[in-house]
């Protein structure tokens, strides 16, 4: 006797394949994404040659030291990109890191906007908003958003050693 089955084998696979596709599509539509590229910044400290003087104090990276690729959801999606620094493993609190956005990057979305972050923002160890992306009736995807970094507070009064930090960028909904 043939078993009582509501779905054929093909229907069974189509059903689950559809669910999978929906899940993937759902994530793609709803999730903001952020990719960070560019090169690590090794700050070129100027040698002191005159007794009594201090470092010039402020150093700037290349205007495109960090490149961000960010996308925000479809349909009136808004997202903010925040930034903070994370000692890795050692940083000195007298060394002040700042970041700013030096361009808009590239996008295929004509109605999307990217705003804020064009002047230096002092970084802390907690997230601070750097800029916002708004997507209207299309996926708001920006590539190669250039970020410039600044280091200030460099002084001989800071113990002489190597300091490292990670600059952490995070995208989230508003």
């Amino acid at each position: 006797m043939k078993p009582n089955c509501h779905f054929s084998k093909n229907q069974f696979y189509i059903k689950y394949l559809s669910i999978l596709l929906l899940l993937l599509f759902n994530y793609y539509v709803k999730a903001q994404t952020l990719t960070v590229t560019g090169t690590a910044w090794t700050v070129p400290i100027t040698t002191i040659t005159e007794a009594g003087t201090n470092y010039t104090g402020t150093y700037q990276s290349a205007a495109n030291q960090v490149l961000l690729a960010a996308s925000v959801p479809l349909l009136l999606g808004n997202a903010k990109v925040s930034v903070h620094y994370q000692p890795n493993p050692t940083w000195n609190s007298s060394l002040i890191l700042s970041a700013k956005r030096t361009g808009n990057g590239t996008t295929a979305c004509g109605l999307c906007t990217i705003t804020g972050g064009t002047t230096y923002i002092t970084l802390t160890q907690t997230d601070i908003e750097l800029f916002r992306i708004s997507a209207i009736v299309a996926l708001g995807a920006y590539n190669n958003i250039p970020i410039q970094l600044q280091l200030s507070g460099v002084s001989v009064t800071i113990p002489a050693t190597t300091y490292q930090s990670n600059i952490v960028f995070t995208i989230s909904s508003i």
Binding site: V43, A51, G52, I171
Partner: protein
């Protein structure tokens, strides 16, 4: 079979989240601050200190006026938990009957950090003597009116050892060290 498909669904869901919802990323910054040990005396140039003959029989020769034109400038960056620095002074020769003395004032001017402390009035010999100590990470500022003003003086000590002499150059060597 049904359980397997559910597991696949959950796994795919988790995987899709990992692949498509990356919301954070980082870039690194590195800065190396070197050890710095720089010191000089400003302004450059020699100073002249002349004893003056007495004008009245029975009086001692008159000591020269003290010189306060020289300033010690330094830049110092030390390693974490590193030793502090000090500045020493020594003369290349001793003039019999005469003491050459140096006193560093407290630091003033545009400097900052852990500046040194004066040792007070120090009579110089050919052996280096500390005139400023406890210098940590610090800078004094550059040029005159920055750093430690020096008061350099000549006085007689054992009068019997004095002898008339023409110009006698004496070199005072200042050194910054740990």
């Amino acid at each position: 079979m049904r359980d397997l498909n559910i597991i696949i669904c959950i796994f795919s869901l988790l995987l899709s989240g990992t692949l498509l919802s990356q919301t954070t990323g980082s870039s690194s910054v590195s800065v190396t601050l070197p050890v710095v040990t720089l010191m000089d005396v400003e302004p450059t140039g020699n100073i002249t200190l002349n004893f003056v003959s007495p004008t009245e029989a029975g009086l001692a020769i008159v000591n020269p006026a003290v010189n306060t034109t020289k300033w010690v400038n330094y830049s110092s960056a030390i390693a974490p938990a590193g030793l502090t620095r000090r500045i020493t002074a020594a003369v290349n020769t001793i003039i019999p009957g005469v003491s050459i003395r140096v006193q560093a004032a407290a630091a003033s001017g545009s400097g900052g950090g852990t500046l040194g402390t004066s040792s007070g009035l120090v009579t110089l010999t050919t052996t280096a003597a500390t005139i400023i100590s406890g210098i940590g990470g610090a800078f004094t500022g550059n040029g005159t009116n920055n750093g430690h003003q020096l008061t350099i003086s000549l006085v007689t000590n054992t009068y019997a050892n004095l002898s008339a002499r023409t110009s006698t150059p004496v070199i005072i060597t200042f050194t910054i060290t740990e």
